[in-house]
């Protein structure tokens, strides 16, 4: 079991460019979560999927951010027209589901927007 895999580990983009972040959840986990972590804001919930269906995207900025889960083996977070304030560590987590289930986190993708 390799755990949650996130690629790339580091990404540098220029202002206005697009960034796509990838997450491979643990096999058999039905829930996938995306978080954003910064020094100032801490750990912010972005969105989550259950059985590949989007359930709650209340934390997603309404413009430029989108997330998909086309199959059970991966999810993507896409940021269009990146801005310097998007610089953060983006964490993906998966779980078996249910409020008591432990979330297993990936190592994160550090996005730097110049």
């Amino acid at each position: 079991n390799a755990g949650v895999i996130q690629t790339p580990r580091h990404k540098v983009t220029g202002k206005g460019q697009e960034a796509t972040l990838w997450c491979e959840p643990i096999s058999g986990h039905s829930a996938v979560f995306w978080y954003r972590q910064t020094i100032v804001q801490g750990l912010e919930f972005l969105t989550y999927f259950r059985n590949q269906a989007p359930i709650d995207d209340s934390g997603m900025p309404k413009e430029r951010f989108s997330a998909q889960m086309p199959n059970q083996s991966h999810s993507t977070l896409k940021i269009q027209s990146t801005q310097p304030q998007d610089s953060a560590v983006y964490l993906c987590a998966s779980s078996l589901g249910g409020g008591y289930a432990e979330q297993f986190f990936g190592p994160g993708t550090r996005l730097t927007v110049l």
Binding site: Y48, A93, G99, A101, E102, F105, G108
Partner: protein, 113 residues
């Protein structure tokens, strides 16, 4: 709405000393409570979790936490801190039947020699 407050952004403890990290939650009903740890340049890892029952929960690496409904608290404790405990600790809450977990702002633990 459920929320979690970790009032201490940073705590410094001498190696070998005892530790308590504070967590207060706000939730209507019976919560599930968690403590996660984040070591440098890594994702979060579960230390322990609380399910309604025994208020004292044992976790990994000698950590334990005590649930108090009257105080709405779930403080993390360790009898003797090791230098490898240097990390950021997050308290979190979720609800029965839900998937979403709400995290606190984290407490950075510094261990002095």
């Amino acid at each position: 709405a459920q929320s979690v407050t970790q009032p201490d952004a940073r705590v410094t403890v001498s190696e070998g000393a005892s530790l308590q990290l504070r967590c207060k939650y706000s939730y209507f009903g019976t919560p599930y409570l968690f403590w996660y740890v984040q070591y440098p340049r890594q994702g979060l890892q579960l230390l322990l979790k609380y399910y309604p029952g025994d208020p004292v929960v044992q976790g990994v690496n000698g950590f334990e936490a005590e649930f108090s409904k009257s105080n709405s608290s779930f403080h993390l404790r360790k009898a003797s801190v090791h230098w490898s405990d240097w990390a950021v600790y997050f308290c979190a809450v979720s609800r029965t039947g839900g998937y979403k977990v709400v995290f606190g702002s984290g407490t950075r633990l510094l261990v002095s020699p």
